[in-house]
Amino acid sequence: MKQNSIKSITAISIAIMVFCGLSALLVIVQGFVGFVSPEQVGVVWSDEMKAFQLFIATGRMLGGALFFGLITAFLVKTIKGLKNGILFPASNVRILYFSSPVLFLYNFCYNNGGILTGSSSNLLLDTDDIAISLILVVFAMIYKIAVRISDENSLTI
């Protein structure tokens, strides 16, 4: 692989990781502030929907942090792999598969944030969220094939 390509991938990956780190921090802080002092962020706890509100708040905080963490892990493994001449690290397949439900959870909880503030009482299930999560599964399957082909290629004498 060309050295320039490796440098470009590494630079873009680092930029994404910084962005993900900040996003994860924001999501965690938002969630934490919401739990500790709900009145400051306008969380309106409803007795009828408290369990669902807790699910939304927790899912948003943990799902977001976990998803950004998984992206960072994916990129770190990719950069490490490139340095060792491995284009498709096998461990990234598991990360991609796991990212799919986590992303769905995060998007679902994010889109239903209105339930926390009381601005909406209707459950919102966006088809885009399902599509993006399924695309991630397809990407993981393609990545798995790429890992196998890469392994075979490296064992071709």
Binding site: D151, E152, L155, T156, I157
Partner: protein, 67 residues
């Protein structure tokens, strides 16, 4: 896999070392070891050609099918 690589046998017949063969063929000793131990998934025609040339043998002398 049922394809057996008999490079070791040919090396012994020709009284040639692995290092010498690797050098003649133009592959690394590590790759030759992968080939000898049967871990290789595929072999290029160019590599096979070079091995046959170096060992003065036929592809059938190096590769064998066993059920």
């Amino acid at each position: 896999m049922s394809i057996i690589v008999n490079v070791d046998v040919m090396l012994a017949k020709r009284k040639m070392s692995s290092g010498e063969l690797a050098e003649k063929v133009g592959i690394t000793a590590a790759n030759l070891s992968i080939l000898k131990t049967g871990k290789a998934k595929a072999i290029r025609f160019s590599t096979l050609n070079a091995i046959c040339q170096a060992l003065e043998c036929q592809p059938g002398d190096i590769l064998e099918y066993k059920e």
